[in-house]
Amino acid sequence: MKAARKVFGVPLPACWLAPRTALPAAVLVVLGLVPVYAAATGDPFALTLFGRIEILAMAAVSLNLIMGYGGMASFGHAVYLGIGGYAVGILWKEGVASGFVQWPVAVAVSALFALVVGALSLRTRGVYFIMITLAFAQMVYYVAQGLDRYGGDDGMTIGSRSSFAGLIDLNNATQLYYLCFALLLASLFLVSRLVNSRFGLVIQGTRSNERRMRAIGVSPFRYKLVCFVIAGALCGLAGALLADHTNFISPAMMYWTRSGDLMVMVILGGLGSLFGPVLGTVTYLLLEEALSRVTEYPGLFIGPALLLVAIFMHGGIEGLFGGRRRD
């Protein structure tokens, strides 16, 4: 458990060679080298695929913060992908092309929405919490469907990517890819600091035993709410990035099945382990990609595979490599 805490914490070198850090390290190195592979083979598809994986991994990391560490199983987390994406798309449509405006708006609106949803849902638990988060997400989905000016049900192509005043050019596929990569790393670093801070221990303690948390003198609600808002904001940023990555927004970004996908990625990788969501996302999306090339019904194979994970692998993929759940 000690080694786990240090994976992305400060004393990293001390446990650098442990088997459980080797896998995340290998995955990160591979992700970092994708542009090299793409350049060598002249295959830009790899950049697109892995850039997308990194963005969704970021969303999964944010979901893991509330679901894995905080025990808050939000079933509407994709709504923040949608909110972030629509913030970018709507602002572009209205003539605001600067990423310095688009992205902060995406994050701020996501955070605000999370504040409202959290304030109403976090007083409930279990099935009720899941239903409320789902209901809010579906509400936004239907609102997006009704926004005819922004493509309605069909979605809208965004004419130009967010501009960052020459600082970084998102139209350059390699630069865009490394931005996704850097933001994923930053998200992991952020979560690693959060979960080991005083705040993070309250969040994890509350998940573990809320009654005991109250008995030692802490009212968990405000902490859970702040955690919920942080996760929403982080996922909103992923949404903005996703819109820039695909040049496209549509209500499908936040359909409830997308929320389900995010949950699956987190659980597949290992609930409440720092790097688990990344492993889960990489595995899930690559599996989906590979299967879609050989069959018309990838779900037919992914479904049973998930079932096996749920039944036999409680720690997810991360757990297979000596990790422990929810450290």
Partner: protein, 253 residues
């Protein structure tokens, strides 16, 4: 005469038709070890729940340190200095023993909206926590996860967590529950050491323990106080003998 630390008056709680607390009156002076005894179903754990703030009474009042706390939530009472141990061990199972205690220290060291530095690296949290573990004799197991501790060690940890909040009153709900003879003896020795320094309300089944530790004893039967006083007086009380001790004596002898 100084005011008692805890003053309970007319405390009443009904669950449906069952009266779990029937106009309970109880005073505990600072520094006192006050035992509450009574047969199963007497309402002892309900009383702890009422005092800790987990259960809201229908009637009556609780004053702590001269302040009416009847309507205060659990966490607010903890901040005022009311700590408790649970009858059925209730800890952060995935955390280490030290983490459990350090979190209790943290809970009483200002708000926890600190997002960046590692709480496990804060000496201000770890050192008092380690001290509390030493007090209960668990320092050697500081880094063991709670679910790897024996039942007896978990009971000790319950006490350490309560102590770490620097309580003025500790509600001990059957701290000896499920302990073997040796472990029980160690727990009694621990409570004896804490006696005087910390005000205690002790719920306990074992008569030998109660008479060894308590300064005063309150006897509950069906949610009602049938006797309260020093051990000698309670032992001699006719109603107590009939309702409770007699039954024990008969069983033991």
């Amino acid at each position: 005469m100084t005011e008692p630390l805890l003053q309970v008056a007319g405390l009443t709680k009904r669950f449906g038709g069952v009266v779990a607390a029937d106009a309970i009156a109880l005073d505990i002076a600072a520094g006192e070890c006050h035992a509450v005894i009574g047969p199963n179903g007497a309402g002892k754990t309900t009383l702890v729940g009422l005092l800790a703030g987990e259960i809201a009474p229908q009637r009556g009042s609780i004053r702590f340190d001269g302040r009416d706390v009847t309507a205060l939530a659990v966490h607010n009472r903890s901040q005022l200095g009311v700590a408790r141990s649970f009858q059925i061990t209730s800890l952060f199972a995935e955390f280490t023993a030290l983490d459990n205690v350090a979190l209790a220290v943290q809970a009483h060291a200002g708000h926890s909206f600190r997002f960046w530095t590692s709480a496990r690296a804060e000496a201000a949290l770890r050192e008092p926590a380690l001290q509390a573990l030493e007090t209960v004799g668990l320092a050697a197991r500081a880094d063991a996860r709670v679910d790897k501790l024996s039942h007896g060690e978990q009971r000790q940890l319950e006490i350490a967590v309560a102590l770490a909040t620097k309580p003025r009153l500790v509600l001990l709900d059957e701290p000896m529950a499920g302990l073997g003879a040796d472990e029980s003896a160690r727990m009694v020795a621990l409570l004896r050491r804490l006696k005087g320094a910390i005000t205690m309300l002790l719920i306990e089944h074992d008569m030998a323990t109660v008479f060894a530790l308590a300064d005063r004893i309150t006897v509950l039967v069906y949610g009602r106080v049938i006797a309260s006083g020093n051990p000698t007086a309670v032992r001699a009380d006719a109603a107590v003998r009939e309702a409770y001790l007699g039954e024990q004596d008969a069983r033991h002898g």
